[in-house]
């Protein structure tokens, strides 16, 4: 009897943890959120229903993540922080929050009541509810941060594979341009690019790609140089496969491991960069809430002990998200070393 029970196969959650369902879940969570943040103003009546499928997908992904990371409490803590903000981003339209752009009662301190409204985190200098601004703000930071990192990875990995696998002139030229871009201090590169293109979310994606892709390219190139001497690559070459096929089907899946850890760290850097750029006035534009913007506006108006919550709330929010990414990267590295 016991044998048949073992043969019953993997549990439901195990089956969900396979690559295909995971990708479906990630897409279910990610696409609605991106559409909502990037094109929300063109959705009209559908805006409120778009995010509905993302809520269960986020919760299931979190449970699967905790199951996968259970060996390392550091990684679980990081995952929880990241998914807390993801869940906030996905559920923001359905939470009982005030309109983040509506001025109600200026300079209300946290945990106090004014005009018959109770403010958990107070209001900012224009009287907008801080709690609702922090929660709505994480949408833009997360969506632009992750999109920028993904684009940078696609570009960086492509160039890295080409220069690692094809070598020769390709490698020389690509590596040289990567070196040129890497010799710009990151923030200087951001300022020059955004100064030229003008401040906006899409231009941040471009700037992050220019700043991060060279570093990613170097990592992927190193891994590709190592892997291309393996037997299965020779086998593919002997079969007469196209170099593009070998790069994408044979090499790409095998450079995945080290890249995931780097991606977690890089997500943190990108989030910092977006918040900082917005603070500097080169990033996302008002009036929609965003953590960097909250800091920027409050730094001009709230330099008093009594109003320091206006600065502290977004600062702690962004720190917790980045701490989440870094702890996840740390836990993943620890786990990969143990195997």
């Amino acid at each position: 009897m016991a044998v048949t029970e073992l043969d019953a196969g993997p549990s439901f959650l195990d089956r969900l943890s396979r690559p295909k369902p995971l990708i479906v879940l990630a897409v279910l969570m990610w696409i609605p959120l991106t559409v909502y943040v990037m094109f929300g103003d063109r959705l009209d009546g559908y805006a409120d229903t778009v995010l509905l499928p993302a809520i269960p997908a986020t919760l299931v992904l979190y449970i699967l993540g905790v199951r996968a990371f259970r060996e390392s409490w550091v990684a679980v803590l990081g995952l929880s922080l990241v998914f807390f903000w993801l869940l906030m981003a996905v559920t923001a339209p359905y939470l009982p929050l005030m309109d983040p752009n509506k001025p109600i009662a200026p300079f209300t301190t946290p945990f106090s009541e004014k005009r018959d409204v109770f403010f958990w985190l107070g209001t900012d200098f224009k009287g907008r509810d801080m709690l609702s601004r922090v929660i709505w703000g994480c949408q833009r930071v997360i969506v632009w941060g992750v999109s920028a990192t993904m684009v940078a990875y696609v570009v960086g990995a492509l160039f890295g594979l080409v220069s690692g696998y094809l070598s020769g002139w390709w490698d020389e030229i690509i590596s040289f341009f990567a070196n040129v871009l890497l010799s710009f201090p990151v923030m200087v590169l951001f300022i020059v690019i955004l100064n030229y293109l003008g401040p906006s979310g899409f231009n941040i994606v471009v700037a992050v790609t220019f700043a991060s892709a060279p570093a990613i390219m170097r990592i992927v190139r190193g891994l590709a140089l190592d892997i291309k001497t393996r037997d299965y690559v020779f086998a593919a070459q002997t079969r007469g496969e196209h170099p593009l096929y070998i790069m994408i089907v044979e090499l790409l899946p095998n450079v995945r491991g080290p890249i995931i850890v780097d991606a977690c760290l890089r997500l943190g850097y990108t989030t910092v960069a977006i918040t900082t750029l917005t603070f500097l006035g080169l990033g996302l534009q008002p009036p929609d809430p965003d953590w960097g913007l909250m800091i920027r506006e409050s730094a001009k108006t709230a330099m008093l002990w009594k109003f320091s919550y206006m600065l502290l709330v977004p600062a702690l929010a962004v720190s917790s998200l980045i701490l989440g990414f870094n702890l996840m990267a740390d836990g993943l590295r620890e786990m990969s070393l143990r195997d």
Binding site: V74, V188, V192, G268, L282, L327
Partner: protein, 316 residues
């Protein structure tokens, strides 16, 4: 050794040439020049700019000459020390930039003076006994502090020490002349963000050395543990952190931007941002070139230093 230095120098010249060309070219597109013309002529929008006034503006600024002639001219001017003229600050860029770089240099000096001992000591303490409570605590603290972005730690420090306790001034504009008290918060902000990274790298390097054969032999020979660490392990373990610390100069040039803007400290980063927002093209170009030069030189120093410190490479 000499061959390596020469090769790196040639590479540096090439990188500087390409980056200056890129920098010159992106600020030379018609759209950007039109934006600039509108601003300098005091108009409202690019669409309102007439072709005639644009052409006369180009002629007045000397922008109607072919691209390559102006580029050669520009590079020639920079090589002879003429960085152009700041439209916003109404001053030649050269002395302006020099002033600001000195201020940033002062900031950087204190950052390094505090960060290097702190991160090396913590890194060595953590790497000495890998996996111990001491190691885990230090590692966690360094992940934690590195996770707080500069902007957030600047806020936390300001709120606690300037707004709450009132020990330190909120801004570091140095209006009444140089003062150390105004330097404390910017320096602390940069150190908090950076020491964790260097400490972690030192820890990794130390941990690797501690597992090597010669350390095991030294311990088995009965040499006191303190002496093994101080005399045998440290020298090898500090090679990697050295190169890393020199490379932090590159990082510092991007880190200072937000700190200087937040604390209103008149340094290189604030100058660059103000010029970028204005836009004051010649200042942006000069600042960027200086930043790239510093980055490339620090990279060469770190490479050469690594070869020089590591006998296995030096004599290979």
């Amino acid at each position: 050794m000499l061959k390596l230095i020469l090769r790196r120098l040639a590479q540096m010249v090439l990188i500087m040439a390409v980056s200056s060309l890129l920098l010159f070219a992106i600020f030379d597109t018609p759209e950007f020049k039109k934006r600039l013309a509108v601003q300098e002529l005091g108009g409202f929008a690019v669409s309102a700019l007439t072709e005639d006034s644009y052409q006369s503006w180009l002629a007045k600024r000397g922008l109607d000459v072919p691209f390559h002639e102006r580029y050669v001219n520009w590079v020639g001017n920079i090589l002879t020390g003429d960085f152009g003229f700041s439209f916003e600050k109404n001053r030649p860029v050269g002395p302006l930039l020099a002033d600001r770089l000195v201020n940033t240099g002062i900031l950087a000096f204190f950052v390094f003076a505090l960060m290097i001992p702190l991160s090396l000591v913590l890194g060595v303490l953590a790497g000495m006994k890998e996996g111990s409570v001491q190691d885990r605590t230090i590692s966690f603290v360094s992940v934690f502090t590195t996770s707080i972005p500069e902007i957030a730690s600047a806020i936390l420090l300001t709120v606690i020490f300037a707004l709450g306790l009132g020990w330190l001034p909120v801004k570091s504009a140095m209006i009444g002349g140089f003062s150390f008290r105004e330097l404390v918060l910017p320096v602390l902000t940069l150190v908090i963000y950076d020491f964790g990274y260097v400490a972690r790298m030192t820890r990794a390097s130390m941990a690797e050395v501690m597992t090597s054969q010669y350390i095991r032999t030294a311990i088995l020979k009965g040499i006191p543990y303190r002496r093994v660490v101080m005399k045998h392990a440290l020298r090898n373990a500090l090679i990697a952190p050295f190169t890393l610390i020199v490379l932090q100069l590159n990082w510092l040039l991007s880190g200072v931007v937000v700190v200087e803007v937040f604390f209103e400290y008149d340094g290189f980063g604030k100058l660059l941002l103000e010029a970028a927002l204005f836009p004051d093209v010649e200042v942006v170009q000069a600042c960027t070139l200086v930043a790239v030069a510093v980055a490339v030189v620090s990279q060469i120093i770190s490479d050469i230093g690594y070869t020089f410190l590591n006998p296995r490479i030096r004599f290979a």
